[in-house]
């Protein structure tokens, strides 16, 4: 049941695909524009509200006639005002709009409007911000960080009511989609399809008060399982579901696409059931914002609304299907391989058990629904030919392509030769080193330091070689699956290209690292920036939080170190606050500061402050009595004593505290950004993990390690510069 279907049509069926024309021929003469669609949707909603049952509505329309019905409704509802909102192109109050989204296909119309220029056409400069989870979406909408957002269908209601958060009136602009979810099970359960045998299973759903949870409980209960006792249901953010399924933490999940298809594509699970088989047309996600924002920016809101409607209109052409999939696939948006999205959108998909299924209304988003209506042959529109053309005609943009990967037979040979070459080089290096050592010993028999360093370097190199060798062996691609596989299935599974399961090969890692390092500052949208930019954001947050902490901790530490009274009075607070994990402050910070960037800076502040405070007070308190006495006998004033005696005397201890703080801050920023950030190295790791791009995850881990080491070296150098020997 769609808002776009004309409810004023008294006929049970329809003349054409869009329902506006008497026949298909008439329909083909012209398709509705966004304005007309919008106006119709408004009236349709009102009429449906009055007559929820289709049969009654039709009877009413037949009895009074369509124009009369329209006039009657117009007297009850201010259609004019609403239509004006949708069509009147008043002056936009603000150009820059920030919209949050969760990287799932439910957000398709919202997302595609950006790469396809619909926002731009309405004079809007929209920043789409990928967000880590639903709770965070809620907080960021409430904190006014996002002007509008992709929301779970029940969320605007919950926020308006203040369930689980402070109450804030919300407006829903559109319901984004219906259907589009599935139950995915781990491959090990492929012979256990009867829910009656699922006692003890662990399931994941994206949110507690979401359609997913309700549907899963309904399905289980229908098969005689008590959802509260017989199984465990836990909340896992959608992007983390596949990773959890792979890790064996859960047996299955009821989650949004593309993560069901992604589990199939990654060969960790199979699609047991689509939710459309439980309740065809169930709501899922919506698009909304705060009521006060709408009041303040009515024209901007209207422009947003128009943009999304226009996106829907554009999607009407089935030839645009490939464009949509490719538009939303890049790292800036869903960050998924194109084949996965294609399978979700077209409904022709591999189920993970060797079958290709064809379920056209697997997901019904507004845009896709229109596509089906406009096409004279609905099934064909979503059918094989389209998908095939899309896949063959266009090189999938999001597919990991590994230029370095050679065919299997050649590879072993290649590897062996490389190993031999490596051994030979090692041998040479070793001999050279020994010869050098001998010469050096002859020249200077006392010089042991260099030879020790040389040995250590050799051992390090050996260890590295062993680790890399083990990695190389462990990730050698396995012989591909049985030859009897349906070629279409193989293609949908991405098996027509060499793929490794689990860890990437060294070559893949190298390629991924090179790709990142080649363009460290590339900026392809708000959710896809180079590693250099990500690092800069993280370092910026760390620097700011750290500097604030130093500004507070050093003077306060001075006071505590100088005054036994202050020490005694403040010590209990410090002792209680110090052991609190900085991340535990995050929810409180988000709630009070109402800004996620400031919150992560606050978290850095709070974790850096204690080591600096404690070390400063300790350093100040343990300045040698003699030096203070010297200052006293020289009648140096308090300020001069503090700055010229106590500060330099305590500096090494303070710097030690700072070094510890910096270490902790660098540990914490990664975790904090995983929680809130939409930029930064921590978010980068989280995002790449969600995308199951382990090459990038490992690369990022190495970067984090190297940067952490550099920071430590920096403070080590500072320590040496300010150290003194008594």
């Amino acid at each position: 049941m769609s808002l776009f279907r004309n409810p004023f049509d008294s006929r049970p069926g329809w003349g054409c695909a869009c329902g506006r024309h008497a026949s298909t021929a008439e329909h083909e003469a012209g398709s509705p524009g966004a304005e007309e669609l919008s106006a119709r949707a408004l009236r349709a909603a009102a009429l449906r509200a009055l007559f929820p049952k289709d049969a009654e509505r039709r009877r009413f329309l037949r009895a009074v006639g369509r124009p009369t019905a329209m006039a009657a409704l117009a007297s009850l509802f201010p259609f004019g005002a609403l239509e004006a909102m949708a069509q009147d192109k008043g002056k936009i109050e603000r150009k820059d709009v920030k919209i949050g989204f969760i990287p799932i296909t439910c957000a398709t119309p919202l997302i595609m409007s950006s790469p396809l220029g619909f926002y731009e056409k309405q004079g809007l400069n929209v920043t789409l911000v990928k967000t880590a989870g639903w709770a965070l979406i809620r907080d960021k909408v409430m904190n006014k960080e996002y002007d509008a957002s992709h929301l779970l269908a029940p969320m605007p209601l919950a926020i308006s009511l203040g369930v689980g958060s402070g109450a804030l009136p919300m407006n829903v602009a559109t319901i984004q989609n219906s259907n589009g979810q599935a139950i995915t099970l781990a491959l090990k359960h492929k012979d256990n399809r009867d829910p009656k045998n699922w006692k003890g299973f662990k399931f994941a759903v994206p949110f507690e008060f979401s359609m997913h949870n309700f549907l899963l409980r309904y399905y289980l209960a229908e098969h005689g399982l008590d959802p509260d006792r017989d199984v465990q249901i836990r909340v896992v953010p959608p992007p983390e579901m596949v990773a959890n399924l792979r890790a064996g933490n859960i047996d299955g999940y009821l989650g949004p696409d593309p993560f069901n298809q992604r589990a199939v594509y990654d060969q960790v699970g199979f699609i047991h059931l689509l939710t459309r088989d439980l309740w065809d047309g169930h709501p899922c996600c919506s698009f909304g914002t705060r009521s006060d924002w709408v009041k303040e920016n009515p024209n901007t809101f209207a422009a947003l609304y128009r943009a999304v409607l226009n996106a829907a209109a554009m999607a009407a052409g089935p030839e645009n299907r490939t464009t949509i999939a490719e538009a939303i696939a890049p790292a800036n948006y869903l960050n998924q391989p194109v084949p996965v999205l294609e399978q979700v959108l077209t409904g022709r998909y591999a189920d993970g058990l060797g079958n290709v299924k064809n379920v056209p209304n697997r997901i019904r988003s507004r845009a896709l629904e229109l596509a089906r209506r406009v096409d004279p042959h609905p099934d064909e529109a979503l059918g094989v030919s389209q998908g095939r053309r899309a896949l063959q005609g266009n090189r999938p943009a999001g597919l990991p392509h590994d230029r370095s990967q050679a065919p299997h037979e050649g590879r072993g040979h290649h590897g062996a030769r490389r190993d031999a070459e490596e051994d030979r080089r090692h041998g040479q290096a070793l001999r050279r080193r020994q010869a050098r050592g001998l010469r050096r010993k002859l020249r200077d028999p006392e010089e042991r330091v260099m030879s020790l360093a040389g040995k250590a370097a050799l051992v390090s190199a050996l260890l590295l070689a062993i680790c890399l060798g083990a990695w190389h062996v462990a990730t050698l691609p396995k012989a591909s699956a049985d030859a009897a596989m349906d070629p279409e299935y193989a293609r949908l599974m991405g098996l027509d290209k060499p793929k490794t399961d689990g860890l990437p090969t060294l070559a893949q890692l190298g390629a991924a690292s090179w790709k990142q390092l080649a363009h460290p500052f590339h900026d392809s949208g708000s959710n896809d920036k180079g590693i250099g930019i990500q690092l800069a954001y993280s370092l910026g947050r760390v620097t700011l939080g750290f500097a604030l902490a130093a500004l507070v901790a050093v003077p306060l530490g001075f006071v505590i170190g100088l005054s036994p009274l202050a020490h005694r009075a403040l010590n209990p607070f410090i002792q209680v606050l110090k052991p609190i994990s900085p991340l535990a402050w995050m929810p409180l910070a988000l709630y009070t500061i109402k800004d996620s960037a400031a919150s992560s800076i606050f978290v850095i502040f709070i974790c850096s402050v204690w080591p600096m405070l404690i070390n400063t007070s300790h350093g100040v308190a343990s300045v040698r009595r003699d030096w203070l006495n010297v200052a006293k006998t020289l009648e140096a004033g308090t300020v001069r004593t503090c700055l010229q005696v106590i500060l330099p005397a305590a500096t090494p201890v303070i710097l030690t505290g700072m070094r510890i703080s910096m270490g902790i801050a660098w540990l914490v920023i990664v975790a904090a950004e995983m929680l809130v950030g939409n930029l930064g190295i921590g978010y980068f790791v989280w995002n790449e993990w969600n995308n199951l791009s382990l090459s990038n995850v490992i690369f990022a881990i190495l970067v984090i390690g190297v940067v952490g080491m550099l920071l430590d070296l920096l403070f080590g150098a500072l320590q040496r510069a300010f150290a003194y020997v008594e």
Partner: protein, 282 residues
């Protein structure tokens, strides 16, 4: 003594913990301008505390200290202190350490004035060429010379030395002692110095204060060193009275300091010690 002495100490006593007997009590002595006075006593008799009270770093439980007509109530640039453990600031160079003191004394001086003044005292303690070294790069003797230079550089009215050579080996100590003799002779500095070393006291002091053991320590004798000035380490022990005085001091330290503390020996009951002029403490 026609006019009031330069430094006058009266009825000084110090109790650290309430109810406990005082470490020393009724300590009184005087110093004349330009006089070099050593104080000798066993550990724990409160020598350092007395010096700290003179410096203004510590307060007496009772009694008073008057220097140059004014009561000592706190630290002052009028009294330079050389600390037991040299107390140089390790993050500053030799020049920096001395300059810190000079700038305290003459805050209005320009950089060049400070530098010139510092250089003068670096030369005085024969550290020329080591101005830019940090204390860690100096030997123990050199460090203590910097300490002495720092104390002299502010040209105090009185110099307080807390066992300045205690941590030095014998050879180094001798060399610095000679220099101190020379500097004091040159500057006519009033000096109050703590020492454990009888030979050192005989070499340097005009007068030696002998303290009984603590707690309840007192100054038992004020012994005038009658050995003629212009002494040197090489020939001082050839002087006929040298061993007489030395033995007297040693006897005091070995026997009488303890007996006096216990009240067994009479303060007045001196042996036939005629060679040295001897004053009884009141």
């Amino acid at each position: 003594m026609s006019m009031a002495p330069f430094l006058q100490v009266r009825g000084l006593s110090k109790t650290f913990t309430r109810g406990a007997p005082p470490v020393f009590c009724e300590v009184a002595f005087t110093l004349d301008r330009g006089e070099f006075v050593c104080i000798i006593g066993h550990s724990g008799c409160g020598k350092t505390t007395i010096l700290n009270i003179l410096a203004g770093l510590d307060a007496a439980t009772s009694g008073e200290v008057v220097m140059d007509g004014r009561e000592v109530a706190g630290p002052s640039l009028d009294r330079g202190v050389v600390f037991q453990g040299h107390a140089l600031m390790p993050w500053l160079t030799v020049r920096g350490n001395i300059a810190f003191a000079v700038r305290s004394r003459w805050p209005d001086w320009t950089r060049d004035e400070v530098r010139a003044h510092v250089q003068k005292y670096v030369d005085l303690v024969r550290l020329t060429g080591n101005e830019d070294k940090r204390p860690a790069a100096l030997s123990g003797g050199m460090k203590q010379r910097v300490g002495i230079a720092r104390a002299f550089a502010i040209q105090p009215k009185m110099l307080l030395l807390d066992e300045p050579f205690g941590a030095l080996d014998a050879l180094t100590r001798g060399a610095i002692q000679d220099e101190l003799v020379a500097i004091c002779a040159e500057t006519r500095q009033t000096v109050f110095m703590i020492t454990h070393d009888v030979d050192e006291a005989l070499l340097l002091a005009d007068r030696i204060l002998l303290m009984t053991n603590g707690p309840g320590a007192r100054i038992a004798e004020s012994l005038v060193n009658t050995l003629p000035r212009a002494r040197t380490r090489h020939d001082i022990h050839h002087h006929p009275r040298y061993y007489q005085i030395r033995n007297h001091v040693l006897d005091f330290l070995v026997h009488r300091s303890k007996l006096l503390q216990q009240g067994i020996a009479d303060v007045a009951a001196n042996d036939s010690f005629a060679a040295a002029t001897q004053e009884e403490t009141p």
